[in-house]
Symmetry: C2
Subunit: 528 residues, 2 copies
């Protein structure tokens, strides 16, 4: 067992506290080893003051230096070995196989962003050359490139203890472009957070990065979370969590003397639309895929399909039966925390208890409270009932979903139009279904960040074309993504340099193009 | 004289009102022809409901169709001929030569955005092809392109009655990418606004665009301005104006059930740093350029240099004398409105009246109140006094500026560090000065959207490399620009399409690449 010191990581040093907390394992309710220091607002100030001091030197590092740094973080995480996975399992109840995959994704993300740092195309260099003889006025030499914004605060998420926590996508994309990071560790997995933070701290030291490049604090969101967002040095925030918490952070950031952007990924019910041809053709396959997707990770994915819309009719019966069969057989499973399990139970009871809701199926297994378990449920209602009560469209985080039946495909479009913003929207249809569903596709493109045909929304690929971000309340800013290489765009801003001498220009804009970048020169893109 | 009907433009129709207002000419205080209808909140709702209805069809137009539409707007504006310039002159007191130039810039912007619409590279297409055999999980086909966000509300500005008003840069960049626009006309130039709106309305009809593509309302910012921002259909806001008004709009947008982005360009004092070598070498030339820049357009540019920092010493005397000479000789000139003139007078009096301020020079000319005139002033103080009172760093909109003297170049860096966010920052230096001023350049890059060496900040080129937007309070979101081709990035968001059949994909993402775009395919950029 790795010894955990429980301290906060403060710009290269460790900081204890009189107040500590311990972690409880959702696997069996046991108290886990380690007493974790609750950070104070003074620690918040120290971390961000150090981050501000590091901003200039860290921004001035080369892309190659930051790439090596990110790769080193990945190596240090891998070097933690099974101890990391075991602690993460104890703290989250997520299976080791899943955590092994998530670790792979985490180090993969770090290496993807290392390649982005090396490549430097994120600077989006543009040059409009001087036209000294232009009439009536000459044009100066104008060059524009993007640069880091400064200290970024990252909130670890509960449901991805590795890929969206201390060294997750937010941290990797912020570090990639030269922004110091202060992480607020999630309270549910402090030991996992400490282990990963120690990997980053080692990489900071080994690569000679400024001490303030990275800090990580344990503590209460309502105290240090808001203090982190309100600190004058903070320039942007990355968050994955509940709608209420995300809104509180957005409001705090918007209320600052100098508002800053918060990239909050909050709430999505990920509607699935079943078109009649597809239901007639392969109701059972769709039902099995749907139940597998909604119960994956005990329904604790932001992309869990929480709503299924279908046209009522005799052929839907096969879908219902297959869903019922799969849900009935679904095993009970441990959720991430007792709070999450309690919220799920409450949300599930609300959904099932609404007038006009019927239970389509519940798992036969019994949930063991001592193991923080929950069981799956699928409820059903009709479209008129659904549209009349906004509670039907609230996210229930966990293995619950609602089947909503409509009278026609046209009514499905009406349902789509009534939805709030979503991370994803899914269509199941035959070629004929889809050809006839044009307006539905167009409506869903206004509602969601990702459209899926004949698949399921869980499984978010880390790549260039991914968009993980949609209109409110899915995320706080639909113009950005938190997954994939484009995630780095959240933490950079352009600066235009007018008539600067070559020596003062960033490398991306120098005449000789020392970074070998594709640039937009007088409106023409090329490696010049 | 063109007859003005005074109505609001409501999605292709005209809408009058019981309540009207008239325009007053700042040239002589006379009441101008035309009674303009004050829009109601019902008109706001009608305009945005129509805009929402137009969103789908307008988004579905081709880039070529929108390019022709934007070019038609430009032609219709040109067809208004001298009547437009004359009315604009009467309403703003801006000289005809300036307005002629501004009209050229306005139609130039429309044509630039037409070329951007045609080009479609703004969709930033990315394709990551399926890998069905990948282990442990296959990769689906993922394609990402940007699309319009939906109805955009644009607030006309006082100081650019053409280039940042009804058919200005905000409108052009929103229309270019397929977003309907509802303009709140600035109250100071309703006749100019009507003429330009009529040009857009003609183009909408001639090009067969949906009626809700464009509306324009007259009225009070505190009533219909906030209603426009709070309307559920509004997806983004463009604004140029005061810090107080911009903040109010940002707060209203952030307080919505579904917050939306506001792109507010608000307040900037555009500091100029004089390095000692440059002062020794060419104090007089710099002084003349500085006074010309601060008095250009009667100091009514968002990029007016309102602060000059220099190292105290005998050589600065030549600069002071040349500034005094130029300011003393500067003519009185009419400001845009009586309110702006009164605000200027108050701001000027505050600045000059602060303990520790001395007047370096005031214009000898007498301001004619009947002509809404103001005269230039330059005050001076030392750095310690400046740093002790934040009122020194407040924007005074009009021909006033403050010289702040420091003890050393190191102190100039301290001054830079203390500044709020800026649209621009300027350095005057010899090669030697600049080589020694490295940290100053780096600090200014964190404070401003545009850095200028040996020039002046007024004159904002419309091009690809322009960045007109800096940290708060210069603008509300430093990651975006309101001038130049990148301005369109404010009004688009990405959508990822997973396993969509070819027929349902946007053209930018189809296999055959029918738009001939450069695309990022499996991470490799090329025309494929």
């Amino acid at each position: 067992m790795t010894q955990l010191h429980g301290h906060n990581f403060l710009a290269g040093g460790l900081q204890g506290s009189e107040k500590t907390f311990t972690a409880v394992s959702p696997c069996d309710g046991s108290q886990l080893a380690g007493a974790f220091a609750m950070a104070s607002t003074a620690d918040v100030d120290a971390a961000l003051t150090a981050a501000a001091a590091a901003s200039g030197p860290f921004a001035a590092t080369s892309g190659e230096q930051r790439a090596v740094f990110l790769e080193r973080i990945a190596e240090e995480i891998e070097a933690l070995g099974d101890a990391l996975l075991e602690r993460a399992h104890q703290e989250t109840a997520l299976p080791l196989a899943r955590l092994t995959g998530e670790r792979g994704r985490t180090v993969g993300q770090l290496r993807l962003f290392a390649s982005m740092a090396r490549d430097a195309s994120w600077t989006d260099p543009r040059i409009d050359r001087a036209m000294p003889d232009r009439q009536p006025l000459p044009r100066p030499d104008l060059r524009r490139a993007k640069r880091p914004v400064g200290p970024v605060v990252v909130f670890g998420s509960s449901n991805f203890p590795l890929a969206f926590s201390v060294a997750g996508g937010d941290t990797a994309s912020a570090l990639c472009t030269g922004n110091p990071v202060v992480v607020k560790a999630h309270r549910a997995h402090p030991g996992t957070s400490e282990l990963v933070a120690s990997a980053i701290a080692k990489a900071v030291e080994a690569c000679g990065m400024p001490a303030g490049t990275f800090s990580m604090l344990h503590g209460q969101g309502s105290v240090i979370g808001l203090a982190l967002v309100k600190h004058p040095a903070t320039q942007a925030v990355g968050f994955t969590g509940s709608r209420a918490a995300g809104r509180a952070l957005c409001d705090a950031a918007a209320g600052r003397p100098d508002p800053i952007p918060v990239f909050a990924e909050m709430s999505s019910i990920n509607p699935v639309f079943l078109l009649p041809g597809a239901v007639a053709e392969r109701a059972e396959t769709i039902a099995q895929g749907f139940v597998a997707s909604m119960t994956l990770g005990v329904g604790q994915f932001c992309t869990k399909p929480g709503l299924v819309f279908a046209v009522e009719g005799s052929e839907l019966e096969a879908f219902r039966q297959a869903v019922a069969k799969a849900v009935t057989a679904a095993p009970a499973a441990s959720m991430l925390t007792a709070d999450i399990r309690d919220s799920f139970a409450a949300g599930r009871d609300t959904l099932v208890g609404l007038d006009g809701t019927a239970t389509l199926a519940t798992a036969e297994a019994t949930a063991d409270t001592g193991k923080t378990e929950a069981t799956a449920v699928v409820a059903q209602t009709d479209l008129a009932t659904f549209l009349a009560d906004p509670r039907y469209a609230e996210e229930v985080f966990g293995p619950a979903s609602l089947l909503v039946t409509a009278g026609s495909v046209d009514e499905l479009a009406k349902a789509a139009d009534a939805l709030e913003g979503q991370l994803t929207a899914t269509l199941h249809g035959t070629e004929g279904d889809l050809a006839a569903a044009g307006s539905l596709v167009e409506i869903l493109a206004t509602k969601a960040g990702r459209l899926i045909v004949n698949g399921f929304p869980t499984g978010v690929e880390v790549c260039h074309a991914m968009q993980h971000g949609g209109p409110w309340p899915a995320t706080s800013d639909s113009r950005f993504t938190s997954v994939g290489s484009a995630a780095l765009e959240r933490f950079i801003r352009p600066v235009c340099y007018q008539d600067l001498p070559e020596a003062l220009l960033p490398d991306a804009l120098k005449d000789a193009n020392p970074l070998g970048l594709e640039r937009l020169v007088n409106g023409v893109r090329g490696q010049h």
